[in-house]
Every structure is written in C-alpha cells, then in structure tokens.
Symmetry: C2
Subunit: 212 residues, 2 copies
DNA sequence: TCAAAAGTGTTAATAGTACACCCATGA
DNA sequence: TCATGGGTGTACTATTAACACTTTTGA
C-alpha cells in the first residue's frame, strides 16, 4: 500500500525489432499475431512485461523465446504510448532492437512462432504502429554504424570485405565507393584479415574477422 | 475484455528533465518529492500517466503544471524499468527532457512546487535513478547540439555570441576557441545579427537572434 | 575467352584545430 | 588608465569524396 494507489495502471508490452542480414539485405523478423485484436496480422516479435522482471529482462526473455539466443546486441529504442495505438486495450509498448546473426538462431523456435525474415526495404504493412517502430530503429542503426562496429553482430564469424560493404550499404541505403570504404575500414582496427579464402567468388576473396 | 487480461499492469510515471540556461550554467529544475516513498528527497519533476492521455501528452501536461509553458522543445529520452527502481511500488518511468528559456516560465508555479534550478555539474543526490536519467539526457543534448540549433530553446530572443558560446561550452563541458566558434556558427545560417547592441559589457556586443 | 567479383592510389575539397592581438568603453 | 569582454585571420592537419584500371579464375 503506497501513496500511488489512486493512479491507473497499464499493460506494458515489449516489442523487439530483430534485425538480421541475409542475401545481402537487411531483414526484420516478423510473424503473424497469435491473438486478438489483429490476430493473423503481421507483427513484430513481442510480449508483455511480467511482474518479476525488469523491462530490459523482458526484452531479453522475448528475444530468447523466439530465437534461442542469449547475449545479443540489444538496445532500447523508445516507448510508444498513444492511447489508441492498440485497438484492443490501452497498451504502452517499450521497443527494443536487436542485431543477430541469422545463421546462429534457432530456426525451430521461429518455425513454432511462424516467424519469417522480411526485407526492411520491402516491409509489408504491420499491425498498429509497428512500421513506425521499424523505421525509427532503422534510422538509429544507420547513425550507430557510422561510429561503432555493430556489423559484428550481423555477420558470420568470417566474411569478405565485399559482404561487409554490402551490409553497410543496406543499412545506410546508399552505395559506397569501394576504395574509400576499404580504406576507411582499414584505418579503424576492429577487423583483421585471416589467411582463409572465400571460394564462392571466381577469384576468391580474403576472409576477415572482427577483432572485438 | 480482451485477450490481454491475464497480464499484469503497472504504474507508469513520466519524469521530465527540464533544462535551463542561467548565469552561464546549464541547470535542471528539481524539487522535493511531495509524497512517500522518499518524501522530501530531491527529485525530477514527474507525475503519473492518466488513462485518457498518451504518454507524450502526459509529459506535456506535467511540464505545463510546473512551468506554465506550452510548445516546448521536448524529447523522449528512455524508459527506466528496473523492478526495484522505486522502493515503494513497481513503477516504470518514461523520461523526457525539455529545453526552456528560464526567463519565460511561470515562477509562481515553480514556487508552489518548491522547484529550484540546480547546476547540472553540481547535481545533488536525487532520489531513485534520477541522477542516471540526468546524465543520460545530458549526453543526449551534447550530441544533439553539434548538429542542431537547439540553443534557440534555451536562450532569450536576443543574445550575444559570447553568451551563445558559453551555452555551448556548458553543454559540451569543454572550452571552445572563440574564433573557431564564431566561424563555425557563421557558416551555419540559423542565427543572424540584429542592429541591437547589448550594453552590459563595456564595449557593447552585437545582439543576434535565431532565424528559426 | 570472358564474365564476375577482388583488389588497389592519388588528388581535391572540406572540415576541424591551433594560435595572438587590437578595440571600445565604463569604472 | 586600465580592466573587461568584443571582435578578427591564417596556417596546418585530418577527414571525406571523387575517380578507373588490373587481377584471378570458373564456366
């Protein structure tokens, strides 16, 4: 019993924008909403905050339920609190975005949830305000990748510089000059060449790894 | 009645970090908590979200209650959701920061609430996680002011370049070379000289205004 | 032999940093 | 007359942008 008892309480959902990089495109994991309202509509991965967990823990739990992954790069994006944002009942959503390596996650779990990857540039209409959430997250990672090597979360352990450049281009939505890109990357020190060669291209390309 | 009824609900507070610029220092408006737990401890300006308002509206309402101001520059900072962050009861806080001109606000209102301005560099211990909130907001406006003319929200209509520089220095926590500062500002186009002169310095200084 | 992706340097433009003196005036 | 804040330019460095050809090899 506290002094707060006269104030209303709210359902708090957590929505996770799970980004992956596949076939040269930045993708988002979505699924069909399993309950009303909006059952069957496309939706971000989400759930409700429980009494015994922090909001951050809730986001981690939900991510693990859908991907099987722990220790994922995940950041809080924003809270979405319009009164009518969920047509069923008042729900305030706290949104996180995560960057994962699509090769590592548990496909069985995402099968159970009917989850699938969709290209962030060809995003279908999602329920409620979920499209807005994705756009905001996208702008955020676009800013972040200019200063921090968050690509390490999206790429496999070994990758070519061509793939790394494609990743940057798909996140930034621009094309980048190859020589400038390779120089600017090599001036940083978060990747290093290995003596492995990728043989999927004719000539073969040096495989790199992140040092971090 | 919806499918959500089995999930717990939470009190949602909104805390506002109200920044002002006074006597050459960046300041924050704080007051003494008027209720338990922590009654009398120093606290950010806050309140609880009501059923009929969005979270954004709630932040605007709270800001207006304490300052009398509408149409203020205000941005959402983050949600703070640790289970034990409020020792009284589980409360999830959604935090906003606002930039106001200290000359415009309604001092009568802030008197009622016992609010006072404190230097952000000499912030006393605030209740709960409020110090952390202020530090995060501070880093945010430090980033923002490098690219956007948010100083317009903190300064009076007419101001000298010396005052503008002091504002930047207090936000960034660094000293700036006067000639470099004046050049970089004049290369942008968000301020313009007026033919007014500030007479508080011996020589007198040109007064500028924001063009936006 | 040729298509496809890998790999590689130089120059120009822009942005940022360092630095010191004279000016106008009120007290 | 002097203390105070106002006002000004140049040289150096770092960062970013523009731009084209050769290499390797599997099909």
């Amino acid at each position: 019993m506290t002094a707060y008892t006269s104030y209303p309480k709210f359902l708090i959902s957590v929505d996770c924008i799970i980004f992956g990089f596949e076939d040269g495109h930045l993708k988002v994991l979505i699924h069909q909403r399993p309950y009303e309202p909006g059952m069957g509509e496309l939706s971000l991965i989400g759930g409700f905050v429980q009494s015994n967990e922090s909001v951050d823990s809730s986001a981690k739990r939900i991510l693990k339920e859908f991907t099987g992954l722990n220790n994922v790069y995940m950041q809080q994006l924003a809270a979405f609190g319009d009164v009518e944002r969920d047509p069923g009942e008042r729900v305030i959503s706290i949104v996180y975005y995560a960057l994962i390596n699509v090769d590592n996650y548990d496909m069985h779990l995402s099968d159970i949830h009917n989850a699938k990857w969709v290209d962030v540039d060809e995003l279908p209409a999602l329920c409620f305000d979920h499209n807005e959430m994705v756009q905001k997250a996208r702008r955020m990672i676009g800013k972040t990748i200019k200063t921090e090597p968050i690509g390490s979360n999206l790429l496999p352990r070994y990758f070519t510089l061509g793939l790394l450049q494609t990743l940057y281009e798909s996140i930034l939505g621009t094309s980048i000059d190859k020589r400038n890109f390779r120089r600017s990357i090599s001036e940083k020190d978060f990747i290093q060449a290995t003596n492995l060669i990728d043989r999927t291209s004719r000539r073969g390309a040096t495989l790199y790894k992140f040092t971090i």
